[in-house]
Amino acid sequence: MAAVRNGITLRGLCKEYRLGRTSVHALRNVNLEIASGSFACVAGPSGSGKTTLLNMIGLIDTPTSGTVHVAGEDIQGLPEKLRTRYRSRTLGFIFQSFNLLPVLDVFENVHLPLILHRELSPEEKKSRVMEMVEAVGLADHVRHKPFELSGGQRQRVAIARALVTHPRIVLADEPTANLDSHTGAEVLDLMVRINAERGTMFIFSSHDPRVMERAARVIHLHDGEIEAA
């Protein structure tokens, strides 16, 4: 019960986009509970609302109606300052196309979110970055720029960047979509390991059955509605 209380609760979540005169329902009355420490996959075909769902939890988008509670707190009702703080302290993001800053090397990319953590000393920040870089197996590549890395390595950098702030929740939007199956499996292995070792909640989206197989829980979305969770 504590895991559920500290987890994520979605109630009556709806998202409607207007495209000219027509409206598109990206999410329809989504009710869902995800316990803390979960390793959950949001599955469904393209346009089913996977990304929209992750964006709602990640405060990147706002619902038309409904609520998103994280550890009992209505995060969508937070003022802008606290939403920003929530994104920097509670969440980690992994993007389908990695979204690394090309001008920065591996160390600097992973270090990027820590710029906002003024409570940490430079030594602590460095130690955290190195810990994460080692955890994702890129200790030998710290001074490499993203263009010098393979797709799998880039995604591992993105995972390290998402985890370096020690977030409770990591949201990953199709993290293996841009990777070949072997590399994708390696990235998933890494996520599974971190989930097991650190208890970090992972919510990731995919429409790949091989990825879904690795998830402890699969939430099926279809046309914005939960088919099975």
Binding site: N55, G58, I60, D61, E80, K81, T84, R85, R87, S88, R89, L91, G92, F93, F95, S97, N99, L101, P102, V103, L104, E108, H111, L112, P113, I115, L116, R161, A162, T165
Partner: protein
């Protein structure tokens, strides 16, 4: 420091854009810094020249003669000439004033001559005794310190210069001029050029003048005056600062001894010079303003372009916890660093040039610049101008990238992440 490092990396990454901003800021700062200091030097030089020329000199002449902005070449009726008695008493009075360094009578006139194409041209002249001509007076007004050349007492038309054609009267040759007689009628006079001063440096065309200089005795004789009449007595003060006290004193004496006469400060001519200085200043300021406006517009444009190009980066930064303020700060800091670096280089270049000009001095041989700044000057740094230009560029460096940076900070995370 971490943010600063990130900014520097981004500036390095977008090298061409950074270089353009650097170059614009460099050029803007260079020219603004240079102009500001040069304008100050020119203004000071002019103030000094015109201050000496106009504040320290005065005319005693008929009350009815309008002298304002005539540069001393006013028009008068024959009956407005000062009689020999008036000339003598005024000179005697002025000679007794300790504040007055000298005074002499002269006749101001207008004449006509025929140019190479037989076209009639007007000119204005002054006939005065060159031997007594004060060097202080000539410094500014005619020959800028050049000595009389081959002058001969009683000679007429010693020298003449027409700016447009660089034409001089040849000493030893005769020329026909239409000159006013004592009744103000123009009559042909054949004049033999015997020598005189070269006053080529006086830009007559710039003030709409062409001039011919006669010695006073020669001119009187030519016009048939047997008595020593004059159209005015010109005097000079030892110290121009005493004019406010001394000129009313002279006027009081004139009121009681020669009520038909008045004393006129040469300051009356000053307004037109003030306008010239103001016009010059405005022109330089306009160039500066245009440069600054271009600089600001280009920085705004380039920062906006940078933001559009880095949409996805903004989205990523926002998603990982950067606030709107952080994004605004990031882009403002990048713009600031580029402008500040360019401006600093521009300041250094301008400072180097000013230092060099200070050593070599700014020489001039053209009539216009001679008119504006005399025989040259040595530019120097003026602390309040330095502070002003630095202040302007600091403001530009902060404000120019600020608006697009704020716009960048306001972008929706969703929109920026969708743009790839």
């Amino acid at each position: 420091m971490e943010r600063l490092a990130l900014c520097l990396r981004n500036l390095g990454r977008h090298a061409w854009r950074t270089r353009i901003i650097l170059l614009i800021a460099l050029l803007g700062a260079f020219l603004t810094f240079l102009f500001e200091n040069l304008i100050e030097d020119i203004s000071r030089k002019q103030s000094d020249m015109f201050g000496r020329a106009f504040s320290g000199h005065f005319l005693v002449l008929d009350r009815e003669i309008e002298t304002k902005n005539t540069f001393g070449y006013y028009f008068y009726e024959p009956e407005q000439m000062m009689s020999p008695g008036q000339v003598q008493s005024v000179r005697a009075y002025l000679a007794g004033l300790p504040e007055v360094s000298g005074a002499q009578e002269r006749i101001v006139f207008s004449g006509l001559y025929y140019g190479e194409e037989d076209a009639e041209r007007g000119f204005r002249g002054v006939a005065m005794d060159m031997e007594e001509f004060s060097r202080n007076f000539t410094d500014m007004y005619y020959a800028k310190g050049l000595a009389l050349q081959g002058g001969e007492q009683g000679a007429c038309a010693p020298s003449w210069y027409e700016y447009e054609k660089d034409k001089n009267l040849v000493v030893g040759k005769s020329y026909v001029f239409l000159l006013p007689n004592r009744d103000g009628e123009f009559v042909d006079r054949e004049v033999l050029a015997k020598g005189g001063i070269d006053y080529r440096t006086m830009p007559k065309d710039a003030v709409g003048l062409s001039s011919i200089l006669f010695d006073l005795a020669g001119y009187r004789a030519m016009l048939g005056y047997s008595e020593p009449v004059a159209s005015e007595v010109v005097g000079f003060l030892k110290d121009a600062r005493t004019s406010a006290r001394v000129l009313p004193q002279i006027q009081a004496w004139l009121d009681s001894h020669a009520p038909r006469l008045k004393v006129v400060s040469w300051r009356e001519y000053a307004p037109i010079f003030a306008e010239i200085v103001l016009g010059f200043d405005v022109a330089m300021k306009a160039v500066e303003t245009i440069l600054l406006a271009i600089c600001i517009l280009l920085v705004v444009k380039l920062t906006t372009f940078s933001i559009i190009e880095r949409y996805s980066e903004i989205g990523t930064l926002r998603a990982i916890g950067f606030s709107r303020r952080d994004i605004t700060l990031q882009f403002t800091l990048e713009g600031f660093l580029a402008i500040a670096a360019g401006a600093a280089a521009g300041f250094l270049l301008a400072a180097g040039l000013i230092a060099l000009l200070h050593v070599t001095g700014v020489q001039n041989h053209t009539t216009f610049w001679s008119y504006m700044i005399g025989d040259g000057f040595r530019p120097s740094f003026h602390s309040f101008k330095v502070l002003r230009v630095v202040g302007i560029f600091l403001a530009v460096a902060v404000l120019a990238p600020l608006f697009p940076a704020i716009q960048g900070g306001r972008l929706s995370i969703l929109r920026t992440l969708e743009k790839r």
